[in-house]
Symmetry: D2
Subunit: 141 residues, 4 copies
Amino acid sequence: MAAPLLLDLPALQAMVDRSPFNRFLGMKAESIDEDKLVLSIRWREDLISSPERQSTHGGVLAAMVDCCCDYVIAARVGRALPTVDLRVDYHRAATPGDLHVEARIVQLGSTLASAEARVHDLNGKLIASGKGVYLTAAQKS
Amino acid sequence: MAAPLLLDLPALQAMVDRSPFNRFLGMKAESIDEDKLVLSIRWREDLISSPERQSTHGGVLAAMVDCCCDYVIAARVGRALPTVDLRVDYHRAATPGDLHVEARIVQLGSTLASAEARVHDLNGKLIASGKGVYLTAAQKS
Amino acid sequence: MAAPLLLDLPALQAMVDRSPFNRFLGMKAESIDEDKLVLSIRWREDLISSPERQSTHGGVLAAMVDCCCDYVIAARVGRALPTVDLRVDYHRAATPGDLHVEARIVQLGSTLASAEARVHDLNGKLIASGKGVYLTAAQKS
Amino acid sequence: MAAPLLLDLPALQAMVDRSPFNRFLGMKAESIDEDKLVLSIRWREDLISSPERQSTHGGVLAAMVDCCCDYVIAARVGRALPTVDLRVDYHRAATPGDLHVEARIVQLGSTLASAEARVHDLNGKLIASGKGVYLTAAQKS
């Protein structure tokens, strides 16, 4: 994990904002340090799955895990990376309220990298957790 | 896979449409039969990830896999189910164009069920594939 | 999946047998064709997990899924490949009896490849299913 | 994670040893505390995959991840649990030498529980990591 940070918080927010879908989600880069990247999204009615539970859609949680894992690696590599695969465990339904996701690098290699992430609600309850594998090798154009 | 279909296509479309996030994605129930459920989404600029590649966001693909796996099971159980976990493999970047996802049941049990899904573009290219596990046991209220 | 078969059944059995652990498992290459590779293991008491259920250990099932996915790709690439990641779903406890695993390629690329596998018992019951991602890029020595 | 420990180290070693396959692997319960369970296996030639690399077989690493995740939950539940699904990321080939795996609970529920694990070699290098989901609900006999 000793790779130095190449991107600061404004650069990461700019990376987030390049994606129209991320902008729709309202994804915000909260903090970056040697250990982890934190992103957040604000609760909105058009992000929910069940109208009874008002819970944020599993696809939104998957996007949070994917983006946070990708960008915590990007902070060391200098660019966003293609996702190889993503796994998300859903631990409890999200109740109405903002969500935070934090990701840490598991391994950073010259071909592949992986990171793991946890999504918490404002009460600190674990909503989801996951892991992603990303391609760090230079891609053919 | 011998469980009879309890929900027809309009009932599944109604299930899809109960979720505001699904409606944002423009998810459409295309067909249901003994073998598989097919859903589609139309390409839209606000669903893309990279503005250069114009590729649909990985979180949208994850939502397609999750919903299609969930609802192909729901068609036999009569209600949408909580996702236990979801895994998505990204095979190639989606180019601009509508996407189809088809899901088949792998196992349908009284506590848990699983299904697998594949996302193709309009040219029949495999964009992503995945699998989800769902809780079929009655939940405590 | 149009890549031609470079390895026949005896060559795949030789690949299986190079691993002392595979030999301990008694893994046998049953058939290879354009569509799938089938491997088997015979039930043995030292492969079980629970002495009451006499069920084959989940680690043995994981090894079956990993090897079958790896070698169905190897049959097109000409060599065994490093596993990037492996996911196994356990559908029911294996009862005493031989097990078959069959694997099909999902995607074969120049950097990565993936395959999916299903493990059945002699009655055709689905015991486990899974998926693996493998590195096809030439590795640095 | 506040669930009290119901099983001590000798009880966990006895649980490990009930499985003939675990005994073949030579799995040893090293330590258990509020935070994590540590298991180890000694390097042996009949556990390797490639005779050139002398690396421990991916199926053995998967068994280590599965058992350690299962038993760290078992220590709070009082019995070993059926695996729902298992995911393993392989970070680098294991070189000859003993391996340690440590697992921590991610979530402990009344129907399902999940744990995550990391496998290190004697030099502290990360060889593999993974996650498992287990059924904590009482099973029908």
